[in-house]
Symmetry: C2
Subunit: 87 residues, 2 copies
């Protein structure tokens, strides 16, 4: 069974996000005054094949310990099945 | 009314993603053999204040023309209300 994991990584609220500030200012300069704030993060798609419960364990480990830095970043993820086994 | 827009930007399927390939190889080297593929993209959170229909128009323009490169990237987004006006 194939699964698609979507991992979202953002800087923690308390961490200054200079890239987000730049996006925010650039949007203001282009006339988008209704934008109050911008934060830039990472979005990672992982395709897995195997048993769901094993994948869930691996995914938690990968997302929390490999893809993100727990000191500065928050991470969350979704896991969805992408392919039904049809016979 | 305040709204939170979540913008997801990924490289198009046909575009080689060296950063994703590196993540994939690194995960394999660490024993995560069930990972078939990794793609790395951007995740941008924008906070808006104002009228929803105006924000939707602005957000489409910002996401498609400013935050992403339509030649190489695909973009999609969600918009949700974050603050209820309570009297």
């Amino acid at each position: 069974m194939k699964y698609l994991a979507k991992v979202y990584i953002t800087l923690k609220k308390s961490i200054l996000d200079p890239q987000g500030r730049t996006v925010e200012r650039s949007l203001h300069n282009q006339g988008y005054a209704s934008v109050l704030n911008a934060r830039v993060g990472k979005y990672i798609e992982l395709t897995f094949e195997g048993d769901r419960s094993k994948i869930e364990t691996e995914l938690k480990d990968i997302a929390e310990n490999i893809l993100s830095n727990p000191v500065m970043e928050s991470v969350h993820w979704d896991l969805e099945q992408v392919e039904q086994q049809v016979h």
